[in-house]
Amino acid sequence: MPRQSSGARVAPEDCGAAALSIRDVGMVYGAGAGAVEALSGITLDIAAGEFVAVVGPSGCGKSTLLKLVTGLRRPSRGNILLQGRRVEGPRSDVGIVFQSPVLFPWRTVLDNVLLPIEVLKLPKARYRDRAMELLELVGLERFAAHYPAELSGGMQQRASIARALVQDAPVLIMDEPFGALDAMTREQMNLELQRIWQAQRKTVVFITHSIAEAVFLADRVVVMSPRPGRILEVIVNPMPRLRSLDDMLVPDFADQVRHVRSLLGGKGAEL
């Protein structure tokens, strides 16, 4: 379990209580005249159990931010603290869901879910029951022994969500996980993700280019601008849980979507 920082007793809005704390992070690719500034001055605290969506047009550095938070890359400037500890490389206390399911076709669905356990050298036998429970949670319990090629795109992405949850990391990073799905499957997956998040009590950072998806899912929506990626505004979404698809029709929801879209200049992002 992650260490508690010694300042745990201070006020809750202090970053000591944050599951993820991004402090003045900047990222520059390349050097000299050809250098590209991908992110600039990103500061954001995300509380434990919070669902935060990051939305912005392509080129706003969403994917770069993901690589920094997961430790796949180091920022050029600033610090990222995860569970109070500085991110200096890949960590087992983050689960990742990628744009595509990234399943291994030669492994069964169950073995795909258990892959992190094998790589992290955790006792596989002890996690088998948890993996089966997670498959049940994502509605794939009957497909545990199937191979990914036998599953639809939505089912494959569900399997990859189960895999991201298997090592019970407190933080889940999701990089446009439903971008490749058709609209109806996508709505269904949004509902399911909300249910899974409530059941598992994870801190979620959800990257998307769909404004509606961001507003529907998130407690807070982080709106980013492109080149270099900056935070334009962080919008708190007070709509109560659990949200249903019908909530997308209420005026509050439409107002939030309209507000986000106006921040983005009414272009560069889909509704």
Partner: protein, 266 residues
């Protein structure tokens, strides 16, 4: 029953073509009275084939050639796989080792075979080594391509779990390379039979290659053709054994029939 009928209907056209081909061949030989020491009639080939097996020496010689081809194939493939793994896991090695392998490949094996017979003798060892040299390259090249052609997202996933390079090899690169490996093995197994015959031509007293030389010297062209048939059957048999192993090993790869498919689109 209907399955049998469907099977027969599917085989009907190829069978008809085969019969027409053999019949036409026979007719041309007889009609134009082609000398039997130039091109034998199919009937003469069948007679020679039956005689060869009845006298009992074809089977033994075929066994020798098959043994040489298979052992050399296994040796060459194992070496090819091992070198590919080393070169991909330690990329610095690639620039050191690979040029020698390409250089070796550009020298025709027919030219090296006499040397190998001088070094390793008239027995099976020299043939196995020739076969291994012939099989090595296609396996090595394909295996290297397969080990490298991994999806970046899958690498990122393993990197996010702090996987070691051996874990990446075991969980991702190696299984990913299997379709490529089998493409190489399929080429190598055919080369292997050729390699064994080349070795036997250079110097041997056993094997189908040896029998072909003998039949040629005796101007027994019908026997030469009969030995070609034996060789073809051997090649097809080895190839289909490999195919059935491939089907079992690559059950997850839907693009098997279309050749190497490294990363099926997710």
């Amino acid at each position: 029953m209907s399955a049998l009928l469907r099977w027969m209907r599917r085989q009907a056209v190829p069978l008809l073509v085969f019969i027409l081909f053999i019949g036409g061949w026979e007719a041309i030989i007889r009609g134009f009275a082609v000398e039997s020491f130039l091109v034998p009639a199919p009937s003469a080939v069948i007679v020679a084939l039956l005689r060869g097996f009845a006298q009992g020496n074809y089977l033994g010689h075929a066994g020798v050639t098959a043994f040489q081809a298979v052992s050399g194939f296994l040796l060459g493939s194992a070496l090819g796989i091992a070198i590919a793994v080393l070169v991909v896991v330690f990329p610095a090695l690639e620039r050191i080792v690979y040029p020698y392998i390409v250089a070796l490949q550009t020298v025709p094996k027919v030219a090296i075979a006499p040397l190998i017979v001088v070094w390793f003798g008239f027995g099976m060892e020299s043939k196995i080594i020739v076969v291994a040299l012939v099989s090595l390259f296609p396996v090595l090249v394909n295996m290297m391509a397969g080990l490298k052609a991994v999806d970046q997202d899958r690498l990122d996933l393993l990197a996010s779990l702090s996987a070691s390079r051996w874990q990446i090899l075991r969980h991702l690169r190696f299984p990913n390379a299997l379709p490529f490996l089998f493409a190489g093995l399929n080429t190598a197994i055919v080369f292997a039979v050729i390699g064994a015959i080349v070795g036997e031509f250079v110097g041997s007293n056993r094997g189908i290659g040896f029998l072909i030389l003998q039949a040629n010297f005796a101007l027994d062209i019908a026997a030469t053709f009969a030995l070609f048939v034996v060789l073809s059957v051997m090649g097809v048999a080895l190839h289909s054994v490999l195919q059935s192993i491939q089907r079992r090993a690559l059950f997850w790869n839907r693009t098997v029939e279309a050749g190497p498919g490294a990363t099926p689109p997710a």
